[in-house]
Structures are given as structure tokens and as C-alpha cells.
């Protein structure tokens, strides 16, 4: 058995041993507050068991292992449905950036451990009404104020801001520079005076994203995590931190087996639905597509273990899997006829076709819209030209709004 297989086994055994306390079944029927509290207890248990911060340095509370073990653990953990969603952004992006760019190492270590134990949550304040896919178009401004800064503006789509203790934020410090060059990166105390968080109810009924308003919020210069004007570069590093993440060929919706189980109980024209050519075609095409994504992931893991750089095809997963989840969910609902109308907005998206369907559009927009992912493939992998960008090189304050 390789060391990685041994690690997988150890991870699986531990996860199985606590699944009854924290897993899918234990979470059923909990309110969001109760589920969050359970999640905090799960993270503390995970920390104590030695599975927190797997690929982070030991000096700051991590395990000092590689990202291979990290992906192995995350993949195993995913199948148990543990209450980790509230901490995904926090531990995925802001905290790693803090580790890399935070100046006060003792303070950083305190924050890292608190975040790993689920005691504190960090959010990432990037998107705005005028800057989502076009991040550098953001308008929130930080102006010099004594020996620090004064922050004003609005962020949008900030995940879990309502539960966050801290955030990382990109703000405009020089509007006379072209848009990418006038940005600076800070951390911000979400409990500070002048910060207001308003949850946004999404189409599916839940409210994990927020609007966040900053009204003369005071930042100390020690909260600055990039050179003045160097914020965009730090924000881009975020995207490189977790290049290899646990993937789900089901697009974070229900697995194909669940579709087959559903179909086995249905009829079309008074014949078993599983005998229907259209249904068989949908199953077969989805299986072929998902198997391909899984083989890509398997090969990437093998390459990492062999000390090689995985190919860029790993970037296809979200684009391909979430779109297909959306269509398969539509079909799963339709196949049930009138029985397909029933809807429980709290049902987990990985077990339920209706919540999977109504929340699928979020998956195609959040974390890189389909169109942006296609642009990235076209430009970075295939070498096709960038889109026409009329605002290129123009001072931000001269770009027509």
C-alpha cells in the first residue's frame, strides 16, 4: 500500500467514526444556526484528529503534508456530507492569503488556528455591483486617513459574510491609474464600526450570499496586505493557491446512481422508464461525460504523486459538470410528471433533483461564470486572443461608467 493509500484509509476511518455525529443524517432537519454550530464542533474535532490544514506548515497549526493528501481528504470528506460549507471560502482563500502575506506572524498563527477550529470565519470581499467577472472594475475606495485608510463602498455576493469575523478586501486607492493598477489589498474586521451586512435571498430560498456596505470604516495601515497599487496581483494569487481541489463530476448535485434509482421506479407509456431510449440515452451520455471527468481527475492525482505537473484539462470540471447537472436535474423532475411538482427548499442539493435544479444556475456563475471559464480555456490553453477591451490602459476615472 502506498503512503497515499494509507492516508486515504486513515482519513476514511476517522470520517466514518464521526459520521454519525456530524454527517448527512445528523444534519437532517437542523436550522441553519444549529447546523453552523454543529459545523464549528466538527471543525474542532477535525483539528484535534490531525486532519485540519493538511497542506499548511506545522508552524502555523497545519499538518505539513502535500496537496495530494489535502485532495484525498477532501474527496473522502465530500461523500459524508459534513457541515463544512460555512468554512469553505474562509479556509480556501482568505486564510491562505493571510498566511502568505500577513506581516504579524504571531497574530496570523492565532487567526489560522481559530479558523481551522471553526471558531472564526473569514470572507472574501471581491465582487461588487460594478465588478464581478470584471473584478478590476470595482469601485469601493480606500482613501488615506492619517496613518491608515478610510473605506467606503459596497461589496456584493459575499459568501457567509453574515457569519464572518474577518474579511479580505480589494479596494481602489488610486482612481487616476488604469483599473488594474490602482487597487490595494487589506484585511478588515467585520465587526468594525461602519460595516453593515445584508443577506440576499437567492432564487432557491437560501441566503448564503450578502451585500456588504462600508461607511467610513477605519483601517490601520498594518491591515494592508499588498503594496499600495499592488492589490490585483495578490487577488490573482488567490486563484493559484488551490489549483488542485477535490472535484465532483456530478457538478455538486446528485450522483448519476440516484438518477438511475429514480428512473427504476417510473414508467413511460406504461412501460418501465429504464427501457425508454431517451432515458437510456441521457444515462449513457451523462455516464460517458462524468467518467471522462473522473479519469481526468484520477490522472491528475497520479501525475501529482509522480511529481509531475497535471495538464490544464483539470480546469474543465466545473464548466462541464454543473451544466450537465442542470439539464439532468430538469429531466429528473420532468420524468416524474405531476409528482415532480413537490418542493422542499431545504432538501440537500446532492440528494434532491428539485433543489439541485433551482440552485444549479448559481453554480454556473459563482467562482467563475461559464463564459469566463471558456475565455480562460481559449486564451490560456489554446492561445486565442483576448476579447476587445476598450478600457485597457485608460485611467479608471476616465472610463465611461
Amino acid at each position: 500500500m502506498s503512503e497515499f493509500d494509507a492516508f486515504r484509509l486513515r482519513a476514511h476511518d476517522w470520517l466514518a467514526s464521526v459520521a454519525g455525529t456530524f454527517g448527512k443524517a445528523a444534519r437532517k432537519g437542523l436550522s441553519e444556526a444549529e447546523d453552523l454550530a454543529l459545523g464549528r464542533r466538527y471543525l474542532a474535532a477535525r483539528f484535534d484528529a490531525g486532519f485540519a490544514g493538511i497542506n499548511w506548515p506545522k508552524e502555523i497549526g497545519g499538518q505539513g503534508l502535500s496537496h495530494i493528501e489535502k485532495v484525498i481528504f477532501d474527496t473522502e470528506e465530500m461523500s459524508f456530507g459534513m457541515p463544512t460549507g460555512y468554512f469553505g471560502i474562509s479556509l480556501g482563500m482568505p486564510v491562505p492569503i493571510l498566511i502568505r502575506f500577513g506581516e504579524d506572524k504571531a497574530w496570523v498563527k492565532e487567526r489560522v488556528i481559530a479558523a481551522l477550529r471553526g471558531e472564526e470565519i473569514w470572507c472574501q470581499l471581491f465582487s461588487e455591483p460594478a465588478g464581478g467577472s470584471d473584478l478590476a472594475g470595482l469601485r469601493t475606495r480606500a482613501e488615506p486617513d492619517g496613518n491608515g485608510w478610510k473605506l467606503n463602498g459596497q461589496k456584493l455576493w459575499t459568501s457567509w459574510a453574515q457569519y464572518s469575523d474577518y474579511g479580505v478586501i480589494v479596494a481602489r486607492t488610486d482612481p487616476t491609474q488604469p483599473k488594474h493598477k490602482g487597487l490595494t489589498y487589506f484585511w478588515v474586521d467585520m465587526r468594525a464600526k461602519g460595516v453593515e451586512v445584508r443577506p440576499i435571498k437567492l432564487a432557491g430560498g437560501d441566503s448564503h450570499v450578502n451585500e456588504v456596505f462600508f461607511d467610513d470604516v477605519r483601517l490601520d495601515d498594518s491591515q494592508r496586505m499588498s503594496p499600495i497599487g499592488g492589490g490585483f496581483g495578490v487577488a490573482m494569487t488567490t486563484l493559484m493557491i488551490e489549483r488542485y481541489v477535490a472535484t465532483d463530476s456530478g457538478g455538486f448535485g446528485p450522483p448519476l446512481d440516484l438518477f438511475v434509482d429514480l428512473v427504476k421506479g417510473l414508467e413511460i407509456n406504461e412501460r418501465p422508464a429504464l427501457k425508454d431510449g431517451r432515458v437510456r440515452s441521457a444515462i449513457a451520455r451523462n455516464h460517458a461525460m462524468r467518467a471522462g471527468l473522473e479519469s481526468i481527475t484520477a490522472r491528475a492525482m497520479q501525475m501529482l504523486q509522480a511529481g509531475m505537473e497535471p495538464g490544464p484539462e483539470g480546469s474543465l470540471n466545473k464548466l462541464v459538470s454543473v451544466r450537465s447537472r442542470q439539464k439532468l436535474s430538469e429531466l429528473a423532475i420532468d420524468l416524474q410528471g405531476n409528482l415532480g411538482f413537490a418542493f422542499d427548499e431545504h432538501a440537500p442539493v446532492k440528494d434532491n433533483w428539485s433543489t439541485s435544479w433551482i440552485n444549479a444556475p448559481t453554480g454556473r456563475i459563482a467562482g467563475g461564470a461559464d463564459e469566463m471559464l471558456l475565455n480562460t480555456i481559449a486564451e490560456k490553453i489554446l492561445g486565442l486572443p483576448q476579447d476587445h477591451r476598450p478600457d485597457k490602459g485608460v485611467p479608471f476615472n476616465q472610463i465611461p461608467a
Partner: protein, 372 residues
């Protein structure tokens, strides 16, 4: 446990590079275009190359004059032949016949045919299909007393093959039979892809030998079909990738409205989608070939992997052909541009080895146990 896959080793990477290099040097679009307008000829230069490079010997055991390699290596060569729209349909059938002969366990037949197949001295065809069925439950061609009778329609390679693997009825059940075609009647089928050498083969007392009969015949036939389908899927991926790159290159050079057309999202996104299809199909091919060569998989697992590869590769090759022409605009539909060489090949490869409907049903049957 997560899906398994394999990484190509250095020898395999060398096969991929070398086969691509040789075919790049020796493939001529003009020669292939000319062959389209003739019935009954194939690309002799390609076939000579295949023999010279040892591709006919790749997957035949060393004891029988082969190189003793596997589906992974053959798949890599098929990817190169697919990219080149190679004009001789004997590599994959030769592999299928060799599998059947190996599966027969008959040492005399193995000694008689395998060295000659490996050396490329004889050409083989696989004639399992009848009508719309890739593997009919009750084949109409009949075997009795060492001879075959009946007709197989539009057999790939049938016009020039020396021997054929035939799915025939023997003693009331389907059997795999090896026929010597010297005296069989051949009627060429005029097709959109003439170098495939489709021909109706009519057997009238044609000498033949049973390789597998009874229940073993169906299992062996399915395994051969699966393994040949995996080779063909590689060939389709090779063609698809060539089309995707052709579209990319054209989008970089062709200018309209003051910029390269590849700067328009309608064009660049189309090509990016092709990239996704190619990589997913390729991943299925690598997985299937590795599984087949690993020797651990049961027939169900092999059929599932082959079906995944086949379905993804067929959809990918079709889409790449459609979209590559579209990206080229008017020039794409001309005879001279030659993209139609691939377009034509998409259809021949989509049907040979069983169409999408066949593989969809087979996949779902193997996944759920429920037949169509």
C-alpha cells in the same frame, strides 16, 4: 475508491510521437482527396508505413511474430492515424481478428495466421454486423461443414481483405468463424468514404473455421467489439483533436472586422468547447485502454469503459467536424480545404463498431442489468 487511470510511460510516449511524425511526413491531402473519387482503392503508402513501423504487429504476442504490446500502444497509433485520416481500414480489424484467433485457443490456427497478420502480409476484415445490428442475435449467414453461406453487407475493408472474422449461425447458435475470402464474391459499395473499401461479401461454400461457438462466442464477440471500439475511439479522438487545432489555427490567422476571428467569443468559445470534448473523450480512451491491458477487469467493466470511450469519442469527433467547418466559413465547405475528409470519416467511424444507439443501450444494460 476513485476512478483509476494510467500515465503513459516513456516507450508509449515515443510511440505516440513517432507515429505522429511519420504520418505527418507521409500524409498528403491531395492523395487522400484523389482516393475519394475512386472506388476500390486504398492508400497503399499508408499501409506500407503501418507494416514498416510494426503497427500491424503491435498487439500480437511475441511468440507469434508480434511485438507483444497492448491496447494502450495501439490506441496511441490509432490516435495518429485518426489525425491523418489514414486511408486503409485494416489496422483495427487486424487486431480484432488476432484477438479472435488468440481467443480460439487453437494453436494450429494461431501458427497459421498470426505471424502473417503481424507481418502485414494479409489483410483482415471483421464482418459481425447484419442490417442495422452490429451483433445480431440470429445472424443470417450460416456455417456448416467447414463452409460459410450467405451475405454480409458493406463490410469495412471487405473489398480487399484476404480473411474475415464472421459472426455466423452454426448449429442453431451464433459463432465466430474465420473465413478465407479468395473465392468469396465481392460487390463494392460506393460510399462517401471510399478508402474504407466497403463491400458486400457473398459466401457460397466459402472455406471457414469455427473460432468460438455457443455461449463463449457471444462473450468473445463482445470483448472483441469492446476492444476494437476502444481502438476506434482513439482514432476518433485523434481526428477530433486535429480538427480542433485546425479551427484554432485558422481563428488565429483569419481576420474580419479588424481583428482575428478568434477574438470573437462566438468563435473562441466554440473552440474552447471542442477542447473540453476532446479532453473528456481522451480521458475515457486512456482509462479504457489501461483497464483492458491491466487484465483485471471483468467483461462488464470492460464494456462500460469501452462504451464511455466510444460515446464520448463519437460525439466529440462529430462536433469537432461540424464546428471546424463552421469556424472556417466558406472555405471550410470547399473540396480543396479537405475538412470533409474528416467529416466523411466521422460517419464511417460512427457506424463501424456500432452506432451511438447500440453503445448507449449496451452501457445502460451493463450499468443497470436492464436490457433495452
Amino acid at each position: 475508491m476513485p476512478q483509476m487511470s494510467i500515465l503513459y510511460d516513456e516507450g508509449q510516449q515515443a510511440i505516440a510521437t513517432e507515429s505522429r511524425r511519420v504520418l505527418d511526413a507521409r500524409t498528403s491531402k491531395q492523395r487522400l482527396l484523389a482516393l475519394l473519387e475512386q472506388t476500390g482503392t486504398f492508400d497503399q503508402l499508408f499501409w506500407d508505413t503501418a507494416v514498416e513501423q510494426g503497427w500491424t504487429a503491435l498487439a500480437i504476442p511475441e511468440a507469434h511474430g508480434g511485438l507483444g504490446l497492448g491496447l494502450v500502444e495501439l490506441g496511441l497509433v490509432a490516435q495518429a492515424t485518426g489525425a491523418a485520416t489514414a486511408g486503409a481500414p485494416f489496422l483495427t480489424p487486424g487486431y480484432g481478428i488476432a484477438l479472435a484467433i488468440m481467443g480460439s485457443g487453437n494453436a494450429d490456427i494461431q501458427a497459421q495466421w498470426l505471424p502473417r497478420l503481424a507481418a502485414g502480409e494479409i489483410l483482415g476484415a471483421v464482418a459481425l454486423a447484419e442490417g442495422t445490428a452490429p451483433l445480431p442475435t440470429r445472424p443470417a449467414v450460416r456455417y456448416a461443414g467447414g463452409a460459410l453461406n450467405g451475405t454480409k453487407h458493406a463490410v469495412p475493408g471487405g473489398l480487399k481483405a484476404d480473411i474475415a472474422l464472421v459472426w455466423a449461425e452454426a448449429d442453431g447458435a451464433p459463432a465466430l468463424v474465420l473465413a478465407e475470402l479468395a473465392d468469396a464474391a465481392r460487390t463494392p459499395v460506393e460510399s462517401f468514404d471510399n478508402t474504407r473499401l466497403y463491400a458486400d461479401l457473398t459466401f457460397a461454400g466459402t472455406p471457414a473455421t469455427v473460432l468460438a461457438a455457443g455461449g463463449a462466442a457471444k462473450a468473445l464477440a463482445l470483448e472483441i467489439l469492446a476492444r476494437m471500439a476502444i481502438v476506434t475511439a482513439h482514432e476518433q479522438v485523434g481526428g477530433a483533436e486535429a480538427l480542433m487545432l485546425t479551427a484554432r489555427d485558422y481563428a488565429l490567422t483569419r481576420r474580419a472586422f479588424g481583428q482575428p476571428i478568434g477574438a470573437f467569443q462566438s468563435v473562441k468559445h466554440r473552440i474552447a468547447e471542442l477542447y473540453g470534448l476532446v479532453e473528456i473523450a481522451r480521458a475515457n480512451c486512456i482509462h479504457a485502454a489501461g483497464l483492458a491491458d491491466g487484465g483485471q477487469a471483468d467483461l462488464t467493466a470492460l464494456m462500460i469503459a469501452a462504451a464511455d470511450a466510444r460515446l464520448a469519442a463519437t460525439e466529440t469527433y462529430d462536433t469537432c467536424a461540424r464546428d471546424c467547418v463552421q469556424v472556417h466559413g466558406g472555405i471550410g465547405v470547399t473540396w480543396e480545404a479537405g475538412i470533409h475528409l474528416h467529416m466523411r470519416r466521422t460517419r464511417s467511424l460512427a457506424i463501424e463498431l456500432g452506432n451511438m444507439l447500440f453503445w448507449e443501450d449496451l452501457l445502460v444494460e451493463n450499468l443497470t442489468g436492464v436490457a433495452a
